[in-house]
């Protein structure tokens, strides 16, 4: 318990050092923007992203049959992760014609390929699981 309290104070000290540094390093305008992004990230997750995931989960339960559902869930999760990482590149906002070697790729095409590969692999894993369960069921019947 004592060690825990020590670490809690240590962590609070480290965080306070960061807060102090942040306030000292930036103008009021910049600090306001940083705080907005800081709080915004947590709020958007907790009250937009997470509820949205719950709604998608409910829709999946309603419209996808139980067998492929876990695979659809997994495929959607990986797709969502790829989408999050791809968004800043897909937006094209960072591209400057004055420096064509920065962000040089066709990100729309790359993203489409990546998502395609994810669903092909998800399908293959799902099919393998389906074949295995059929095989097992057959074996059980023979016995």
């Amino acid at each position: 318990m004592k060690t825990r309290i020590v670490f809690i104070f240590l962590g609070a000290g480290i965080a306070a050092y960061g807060i102090h540094g942040l306030i000292g390093a930036t103008s009021t305008h910049a600090l306001t923007s940083a705080v907005k992004w800081f709080i915004g990230g947590a709020l958007i997750h907790d009250f937009v992203v997470a509820p949205l995931v719950i709604v998608i989960g409910v829709l999946l339960t309603r419209f996808i049959p139980p067998f492929p559902r876990p695979f659809v869930q997994a495929g959607l999760f990986v797709t969502a992760a790829l989408t999050l990482v791809a968004l800043p590149f897909l937006s094209g906002r960072g591209y400057r014609a004055t420096n064509p070697s920065a962000l040089p790729l066709n990100y729309g095409r790359g993203y489409a390929i990546a998502v395609g590969v994810v669903w092909v692999l998800t399908g293959l894993v799902g099919l393998a699981a389906f074949a295995r369960s059929r095989y097992r069921a057959k074996g059980a019947r023979r016995r």
Binding site: I14, G18, L22, G41, A42, V53, P70, A81, S101, R109
Partner: protein, 396 residues
């Protein structure tokens, strides 16, 4: 005795005296008991994801400190020149671990989401502080990952200066992480030591399946980006910010000459200021002993690419002006504005045989975008400090 102290403390604790049972009718929606039924909302899953996240956050924090102190070098630090690939590895890891963390953080937040609606909201002052620190942890983690990623995509939709804000928020996040681990250590231990177990409900992911999915998502975003650092994998990096072969002379550029407002100067002179001052024309630089090295350009944004550089050793130039051996050298660019128009060269970099003012790249005259007529290239140093369009070396 302990019991009595506790009772006395709880009498002083305003949070512990809140009569939550009176607010029972507020417990609606997600606050209801048993509102979340999925077996994925489990401390076993949370502890396993948390362990991996803790490791990745620590790597990001430490490699971030390396990068910070290389660019703001305190007097006591002598960053080595060997191995030349060290910064390539630390900064590549920093960005790769950051990107790979994104799906794991999402999975972790999903797993512990019901805890947001825990009842009662706070049992004691300490409990309230601990829950409050989660805002710092969640806010800080999301901030670091989101702004880091968007910054890598060279897009700055905010009003703060990325570098220093990312640095200070790292301290906030790591501090909050220390608090979190200390506060949850019992739960973490219990979660890790309990097997995931068969919780398979037909038609939904098992706990094991969920962890595998999170790992697969990390794998997917890593494969899609890591080739920007690990060049053999670059053709898989469909979301890479750079391709090591795309750019003038088959090398990417971080800031082009147009962006830096630099033009070819027909009467270019290099000034070396020290105990003596020497002014050299490009022809005189070309007439000096030329050396060839293979060194990477390593960007703070995580991409890197190796190239063959030919030029004059900086130490030879320092000897021309009889600079003291341990002198710090300021390298100044023709670029008029910009944060990175100057850089400092300390020992051992200033005296390393591989530190050049490069005149040629991959066998041809340096392209204007790469710093024509000459640029600094030193081993194990961030790209922003490999000053281009060098017009002056000043020994202090």
């Amino acid at each position: 005795m302990v019991q009595r102290t506790r009772t006395r403390l709880s009498r002083l604790d305003p949070v512990a005296r809140i009569p939550w049972q009176k607010f029972e009718r507020l417990r609606r929606g997600p606050l209801r008991e048993g509102a979340f039924t999925s077996p994925l909302h489990s401390e076993r899953v949370a502890a396993r994801l948390g362990l991996v996240l803790g490791v990745l956050f620590t790597i990001c924090f430490l490699t971030g400190l390396v990068s910070h102190f290389m660019q703001h070098q305190p007097g006591w630090l002598h960053w080595p020149t060997t191995p030349v690939w060290l910064y390539r590895v630390t900064q590549g890891l920093h960005v790769a671990c950051g990107i790979g963390t994104i799906p794991l953080l999402v999975a972790k937040l999903w797993t512990v989401y019901p805890r947001l609606f825990a009842w009662p909201p706070a049992r004691s002052l300490l409990h309230a502080v601990e829950r409050g620190s989660l805002l710092l942890l969640v806010g800080g983690s999301a901030f670091q990952l989101v702004t880091g990623l968007i910054n890598v995509a060279r897009f700055y939709p905010w009003g703060f200066f990325f570098t220093s804000t990312h640095y200070w928020v790292a301290w906030i996040t790591i501090g909050a992480l220390v608090i979190h681990v200390a506060a949850k250590i019992t739960v973490i231990r219990r979660g890790l030591s309990t097997p995931l177990q068969q919780d398979r409900r037909p038609g939904s992911l098992s706990r094991r399946g969920f962890l595998i999915t999170a790992g697969a998502a990390t794998g997917a975003v890593t494969v899609a980006t890591v080739g920007q650092t690990v060049t053999p994998l670059q053709d898989l990096a469909v979301l890479g910010q750079r391709h090591a072969d795309i750019g003038p002379q088959h090398l990417p550029v971080n800031k082009s000459a147009v962006e830096a407002k630099v033009k070819r100067d027909p009467v270019y002179r290099l000034t070396v200021d020290g105990p003596r001052t020497v002014v050299l024309t490009l022809a005189q630089l070309q007439a000096m002993t030329q050396h060839t090295v293979t060194l990477p350009i390593v960007c703070v944004e995580g991409w890197s690419a190796s190239a063959v550089w030919t030029g004059v050793r900086v130490r030879d130039l320092l000897d021309l002006v009889a600079a003291p051996h341990d002198a710090e050298v300021e390298v100044e660019s023709m670029q008029v504005r910009g944060l990175y128009r100057k850089s400092s060269l300390h020992t051992p970099h200033s005296r390393d045989d591989r530190t050049l003012l490069a005149l040629r790249l991959n066998g041809a005259e340096l392209d204007l975008d790469h710093g024509y007529p000459c640029r600094l290239i030193a081993p194990n140093r961030p790209g922003v400090q490999q000053t281009k369009w060098v017009k002056r070396l000043a020994v202090s």
